[in-house]
Symmetry: C2
Subunit: 338 residues, 2 copies
């Protein structure tokens, strides 16, 4: 139903075939919501979240059974510019930590009852320094999109994608600036923890990248190829495949959202199957979510990546679905006022 692709053009074609939510299931879920034993609207965001999920799954009373979390890792040539507080070796070390179950995302995936997988993408061959050249040639970019695509479990009923990649907040900042404009300084922040002068250096690097690539960044997928990274491309590929299979997505932080924003820019509405799990402490994230019209479910000052904010937000979605699908109606409970 959704075979892989072997060229960027073929991937672009897939984005023209995006399905809509099931209108009948949406209506049925709305009607059910109105009949449950609570004042109308009293569960706030939980109500719209349940209806949204019901529509995408095509089920009036859905439950979350097989959520999936996939983490993609990549290394970035732009780290040569001194944009991170950590050395690039940490990417592979953290992949080992994910595999051993010791990272934050492992704990949150277990709590969410989610299948977890980690996908290191050619860590020993960092992408090119994007202030001087495209991060990836087209074949590598297509392979990274396809790696994300292939990582999605066909029977998943929810997808969270996360990332690990020393230097990738700078990549995300350059991508966000390419997609949404504004000054380079608007999109950079402390990342894993660079000091103020590090933030200034990141802004210079982003500005240099924008100047180097110029009008070539006007095409969103081309921007993802030129200033993104393998893990960013893979997240975009996974989110696109989820859409084709009507698997709802919870977006994580700044890097995940920047990656997803390339899809939305390439095809407006491409992220209708996605909600924002949280807003991170990385300052560009709130700006990016506002540009996308996405209201975050959580605002806890997290800035770790790995999919952690979205993984925690799975619990909010699950709470919404348990209420929606498990509560009695006014008629069932013989409560007045329904």
């Amino acid at each position: 139903m959704t075979p892989p692709f072997t060229s960027l053009a073929a991937f672009r074609d897939r984005l023209t075939e995006l399905p809509a939510p099931d209108a009948a299931a949406t209506r049925a879920a709305e009607a059910r919501d109105g009949a449950l034993t609570k004042p109308p609207g009293a569960l706030g965001r939980l109500e719209s979240l349940a209806v949204w999920y019901a529509g995408w799954r095509g089920v009036e009373r859905p439950r979350l059974v097989t959520p999936q979390i996939a983490v993609f890792a990549g290394n970035h040539g732009v780290t040569a510019r001194g944009v991170s507080a950590f050395p690039s070796e940490v990417t592979a070390q953290m992949v080992a930590n994910f595999e051993a179950g010791g990272a934050a995302i492992n704990q949150l995936a277990a709590l969410a009852g989610a299948r977890f997988s980690v996908h290191p993408l050619s860590l020993d061959a960092p992408t090119a320094d994007f202030t001087e050249a495209p991060a990836m040639p087209e074949a590598e970019f297509t392979a990274a999109l396809a790696a994300g695509w292939a990582a999605v479990a066909p029977d998943a009923d929810l997808l969270v994608v996360g990332e690990m990649g020393i230097g990738n907040t700078t990549s995300a900042a350059a991508l966000a600036a390419a997609l949404h404009g504004g000054r380079a300084a608007d999109w950079v922040g402390a990342g894993t923890g660079v000091a103020q002068e590090g933030v200034a250096r990141k802004a210079e690097v982003v500005a240099a990248a924008l100047a180097h690539h110029g009008a070539a960044l006007d095409d969103p997928l081309e921007a993802l190829r030129r200033v993104g990274g393998r893990e960013l491309a893979a997240m975009a590929g996974a989110i696109a495949r989820a859409r084709l299979q009507r698997i709802p997505v919870i977006l994580d932080g700044f890097i995940c959202t920047a990656s997803a924003a390339a899809l939305e820019a390439a095809r407006p509405g491409a992220l209708d199957h996605a909600v924002a799990g949280h807003v991170s402490a990385e300052p560009g994230h709130a700006r990016l979510l506002a540009s996308l019209g996405k209201e975050p479910l959580l605002a806890l000052g997290m800035r770790l990546g790995e999919g952690t904010g979205a993984a925690l937000a799975i619990q909010v979605l699950r709470g919404a679905l348990e209420c929606h699908s498990g509560m009695a109606t006014f008629a069932e409970a013989r409560v007045a006022g329904g």
Copy 2:
């Protein structure tokens, strides 16, 4: 260790014996947090939440095992003033719904793995209309405080208290105004869903109550007796007992928080063992949380009560504890940069 009490004076005495968190466990948890495989501070609020919980439980690596949710229900004579969109009969009908497992809080309690109990408090004998008389005589008030006290499971490792009581947002508004001042209109909102003229009526009722009771409301527990309700008193009793047993508390919405605020006003610091689970859509709640210096964990536009916002926030706390207690340290994972 925490026997019940038979007079209001005895309850007041208990509030003078409040324990502090365990300083050694707090320090140990802070040190552990700094050694975990993440940049310092990258889990945001989850980190301070885990350290706070560790201190109150006296354990460096705590887990949440036996959370408890107790819902108290009461009826209010002030409903004669037309302050609610629902008739008083709904209180008992919803208690039956709680007992049958059909309400929102049942679903969220099950999701949280929490023990759930519901405590109807003399529903067939509503409190007095507090615009004309104290809501409860002292003996009834003491009995309601004691009912909350008795409801706390000694082995609970977390407490959420919730409420059901047609008319109780008006009671909470009057209590909040008595404790924190401001105009009556600052503290009233739509509650379960009264229209604009109903909100104006609620403000008149609150103003009338403040005028009737006058300086007698200067004593916080006396304010709780005069304009509160049995379920509000019971929540305060339960939160006080939790403090004496170092059981951390997650506060729910406006009514729960108003009830808790009476303890804080009676004894500053009495809510140090409590965090705000969410900020509700009832406009007085944000104002009340700000007065208490409590930052909510969730902001999802919920306004149902029952403990639902706090019950959902249990998942955030559990996520924090799973990360804190389950993650590898830099040394264990051999990751650079710790």
